[in-house]
């Protein structure tokens, strides 16, 4: 059953949404949609039975109440009572599903026995936190599997690895909000509030916040990267530097494009942190904890190397190196090789998608401006029209088109922040994945070199034996011992890295699938919102059109 939980649905909405089983299949619980005037539009495809009942929606009050218009808007005044009350936090629709949920059948048969609760929230002045349902957190929830806390070196099977992931769950929510410009001129910078809410015992408090600037985030990346990338972890890349964007902000240009830039950056920083803390090993890192907790951080220097193009170059070099490795290492190489190929293909696909979404954003913005221009033109026409009812209708039409423009604007916002940024993030994440594979290669290389050195030492010893030089023999034996232990160390390292990379890939793929799904869901929500408002606008206009005489 598909239930709506919020009050005020009219009986029509109830019937549309609570249709169960077969009755829904027969077109809207027994209602016949009114015939439409235009024959030609019968071509409009309504391929699911459910869609025939589209007229039944919303005759009276809607389930879609709430007046808040923009999905994500930064507000300025923090409300200390609830650090997450600012609009700035990125709310991921929370999906606590069984780990195998993603692979289940998602057929078009909508009315199987699944029990689902459609959670609808009301706007409050506090923001969007009122969620009906047991979930306390609306934000990013990190699960910290117990198994990670005691790393084991034994290679696990895929199934075992999967099971580990669904360990105990702790909560950690992060928000990045309240961008503030500090200083003036070219030395100015933006400071962001980083707020954490957690039940994890390793933190000093349950709720706390600090202020950080962009270079702090880059500094964090550098530290994490230095420590963890060698182990084969996938390190989330930080947002890119932007000289143009920041200069506008520094110079004090108070226009919409610099506001957009700041919002874009704020959201990117938030996502970055959320990804970092979602990683079980990284969350344990004291640098991460310090970043979240400590009041004053020492200024991070040498972050130039981590500017956008620099980082990208590093990543690309990594992939070249990996591609040059043609020697097979062991049986599991097939897995790694094909995985890498998959990653590269996917990266290409995501780039292509990103370009298409970018184009969508731009065209939608164009649509905005064309709509505004058209609206003005219609208003002019209406002012000249001599028939008074038609004149009024035309000026109403101009107003409707104005509202359309606002809706298109919102939709462009969604297009960008929900889709485009997701794709951009993942293009960079896939680059980080490739780095991770390269790390494994490096470790293997080191092992190979050590093995060949060991071989040489052994040959040297044999030569000495043959040449019968007992004084140097001890040295040779010592060397061999040294290299033998090195080789075995490097073998262990390699195994560990291999295991880590596999686990990381698994975790990454799961998170990616979940991320994409959540974003698509969010996008659908934004569309729903827009379309609903559209319906309202035009429905308000219809009587005006009919009043023309």
């Amino acid at each position: 059953m598909f239930l709506s939980r919020l009050r005020l649905p009219s009986s029509e909405i109830q019937s549309t949404l609570t249709c169960n089983g077969q009755s829904a299949m027969s077109g809207g619980c027994g209602r016949n949609p009114p015939p439409f005037p235009d024959n030609e539009d019968q071509e409009a495809e309504l391929d699911t039975q459910v869609l025939d009942s589209d007229d039944d929606d919303d005759e009276g009050e809607d389930i879609f109440t709430g007046a808040r218009s923009k999905p994500i808007t930064p507000t300025s005044a923090p409300d200390e009572g609830d650090i997450f009350s600012e609009e700035g936090s990125y709310v991921r629709s929370d999906v606590h599903h069984a780990t195998n949920g993603l692979h289940s059948d998602e057929e078009l048969d909508l009315f199987t026995e699944a029990t689902v609760e459609l959670t609808l929230t009301n706007t409050t002045s506090q923001g969007r936190r009122e969620i009906i349902g047991p979930t306390a957190s609306a934000c990013n929830t990190t699960r910290v599997p117990n198994s990670i806390l005691k790393p084991s070196i034994v290679t696990k099977t895929m199934e075992e690895l999967e099971e580990e992931e669904s360990g105990d769950q702790f909560e950690l929510n992060i928000a990045v909000t309240n961008p503030e410009k500090i200083g003036d001129g070219m030395n100015a910078y933006m400071s962001y509030k980083v707020s954490t809410q957690t039940t994890l015992p390793m933190f000093l408090n349950k709720t706390f916040s600090v202020r950080r600037r962009f270079s702090d985030f880059l500094g964090l990346y550098e530290k994490i990267s230095a420590k963890h990338s060698l182990l084969g972890c996938i390190i989330p890349p930080p947002p890119q530097k932007s000289v143009v964007g920041m200069t506008k902000v520094k110079v004090g240009k108070e226009d919409s494009s610099s506001a957009e830039f700041v919002e874009k950056r704020r959201a990117a920083l938030e996502r970055y942190l959320q990804r970092v803390v979602a990683h079980p090993s990284l969350l344990q890192d004291p640098d991460v904890r310090e970043f979240l907790e400590r009041d004053e951080l020492p200024r991070a220097v040498n972050t130039q190397a981590l500017s956008g193009p620099g980082l990208l170059k590093m990543i690309n070099r990594a992939s070249d190196a990996v591609n040059k490795m043609t020697i097979k290492m062991n049986e599991s190489d097939n897995w790694f090789e094909s995985k890498l190929q998959e990653v590269e293909n996917e990266e290409q696909l995501l780039r292509r998608l990103h370009a298409a979404v970018d184009s969508l954003v731009n065209h939608r913005k164009e649509l905005c401006s064309n709509t505004v221009v058209f609206s003005k033109s219609v208003a002019m026409l209406g002012s000249v029209e001599e028939n008074s009812a038609l004149s009024r209708a035309l000026s109403q039409l101009a107003e409707v088109e104005d509202k359309m423009e606002q809706l298109h604007q919102q939709q462009a916002f969604s297009d960008f922040f929900i889709l485009a940024e997701l794709l951009a993030d993942y293009v960079r994440l896939l680059g980080a994945v490739r780095c991770c594979f390269e790390q494994r290669m490096k470790v293997w290389q080191r092992l190979q070199e050590a093995q060949s050195t060991l071989q040489k030492k052994r040959e040297a010893e044999a030569k000495l034996l043959w040449a019968n030089k007992p004084e140097k023999l001890q040295q040779a034996k010592d060397d061999i011992n040294e290299w033998e232990s090195k080789v075995s160390q490097y073998e262990r390292d390699f195994e560990r890295v291999t295991c880590t990379v596999r686990k990381e890939m698994l975790r990454f793929e799961k998170e990616k699938a979940r991320d994409f799904k959540q974003h698509i869901v969010k996008y659908l929500e934004s569309l729903l919102h827009t379309q609903h408002r559209l319906v309202k606008c035009w429905e308000a206009f219809l009587p005006e059109a009919k009043a023309i005489a």
């Binding site: 005037p37 235009d38 539009d41 459910v50 869609l51 589209d54 929606d57 879609f64 709430g66 629709s93 929370d94 999906v95 606590h96 599903h97 069984a98 692979h103 289940s104 059948d105 998602e106 699944a114 029990t115 689902v116 609760e117 459609l118 929230t121 969007r128 998959e342 293909n345 292509r352 298409a356 184009s359 969508l360 065209h363 164009e366 649509l367 221009v373 033109s377 219609v378 002019m380 026409l381 000249v384 001599e386 038609l390 209708a393 039409l397 990616k512 959540q518 869901v521 969010k522 659908l524 929500e525 569309l527 729903l528 609903h532 559209l534 319906v535 035009w538 219809l542 059109a545 009919k546």
Partner: protein
């Protein structure tokens, strides 16, 4: 190479720009069929009539666009009709847009997958068809304006157009060369003269002049802006198409679960594309076409005013000539006759002009009303369908198969 037949759609193709003009069963015209070959469109003009002036009660003739123009020009040049609003000539069928795209598609064929190519080709064909439908409609309405007008329907040339089963272009050449171009130029440059020149004696026409001049520029502007807006809609639809195409394009051997997700998402975007496309084309049909048509019709009304203004000028000149003749004492009778004729012509034009302009007002208001209502209803319908589809997909993607953990996304305030 492409030949499309519009078999059958002419009759239920809703005439959006003017109220149904086929009210009078004594003369019913429609274009049930049209053939598009390369550049040329051949319209099948079908007539059903009870009038005895025709040879048969039902008949069809093939006509090309130029023959419609011949009819228009001939009517314009008929002195008798100076006091009537001449239905505006239909614009030339313009397949340039889709044809160019088709050409580009052919060039880019190698750089896209077979499925993508097939999909784009299909869309282009739909675009072609849309242009085709529009041009049939506009030619049909043109004829129906004549058939529904008490005076025009009796015009001999009109009847020839409907009945004569040979090619008309032979008869047409001379007429155009002699009158057509010259006449049109004269009329166009009369715009400024009208505005500044003749002193208007009749309040009704003074008001009409002011109104029509103002309205004309505004509606032209609105048409252009509407066209831009519709084009943007189509661009958005195209982008959804590319997104859906990219989502579907993952390698065939990649069988990850993620890929399956991507294919589902591709489906969503494909639906979004179709709906956006439909919104764009409905808007074009109901709003932009309406504005386009009335831009032309307003021009026809202005032409009437010009003709009347010229007649007024002639009238005044003839008065002056009569006075001069009387002064000189020469050719008085001739001058009197001339003056009488000019006055008669002017009066006739004014009387018929007033009637025409009044009914034009009414016609315009009715057409706007009809189209605005239809457009609004379509917008509502499309938005509802889109809303519902999003709801359905949302449900699909957030539904979980096993009970307790089902926590779909928050359908927050809407």
């Amino acid at each position: 190479q492409a030949a499309w037949s519009s078999e059958g759609f002419g009759s239920h193709w809703v005439r959006s720009v003017s109220v149904d003009l086929n009210n009078d069963a004594s003369l019913v015209i429609d274009i049930p069929d049209a053939l598009c070959e390369r550049d040329k469109v051949k319209f099948t003009v079908h007539t059903k009539t009870t009038l005895s002036s025709f040879q048969k009660p039902e008949f069809s003739v093939p006509r090309q666009h130029e023959e419609f123009i011949w009819l228009h020009d001939t009517i314009v040049e008929t002195e008798e009709y100076a006091g009537l609003i001449i239905p505006p000539a239909p614009p030339k069928p313009d397949f340039e847009g889709p044809r160019e795209k088709m050409h580009k598609l052919g060039e880019g064929e190698s750089s896209m997958t077979k499925e993508e190519y097939a999909k784009m080709k299909q869309e282009l064909e739909a675009e072609y068809l849309a242009v085709f439908k529009k041009t049939v409609q506009v030619h049909e309405v043109f004829l129906q304006r004549f058939s529904s007008h008490p005076i025009f329907r009796k015009d001999r040339n009109f009847q020839i157009f409907l009945e004569y089963d040979q090619d008309l272009s032979v008869r047409r050449k001379n007429a155009k060369e002699m009158f057509g171009g010259f006449f049109k130029n004269m009329v166009k440059s009369a715009d400024e003269v009208l505005i500044s020149g003749v002193k208007e004696v009749d309040e009704f026409f003074e008001q009409e002049k002011t109104f029509l001049l103002d309205y004309s520029s505004k509606i032209k502007d609105a048409t252009a802006k509407a066209e831009k807006m519709t084009r943007s809609h189509k661009n958005v639809a195209d982008d959804y198409n590319h997104i859906s195409g990219a989502l579907n394009s993952t390698a065939a051997d990649n069988n990850t679960a993620f890929k399956k997700h991507l294919e589902k998402y591709a489906e969503v975007f494909e639906k979004l594309r179709k709906l956006e496309d439909r919104v764009a084309s409905d808007q074009e049909l109901k709003l932009t076409e309406l504005l386009r048509y009335y831009t032309r019709d307003i021009q026809a009304a202005k032409d009437l005013l010009y003709r009347r203004a010229r007649a007024l000028a002639d009238n005044e000149n003839s008065n002056k000539a009569l006075d001069k003749a009387r002064l000189k004492g020469k050719d008085i009778a001739q001058a009197e006759e001339n003056q009488k004729q000019c006055l008669q012509k002017f009066d006739k034009l004014s009387e018929s002009g007033k009637k025409e302009l009044t009914s034009f007002k009414a016609r315009r208001v009715v057409a706007f009303r009809k189209n605005l209502i239809e457009m609004t209803e379509l917008e509502i319908k499309h938005a509802k369908v889109r809303r519902l589809k999003c709801c359905v997909y949302h449900y699909m993607f957030t539904r979980q198969c096993s009970g307790s953990h089902g926590k779909p996304g928050n359908l927050r305030e809407f």
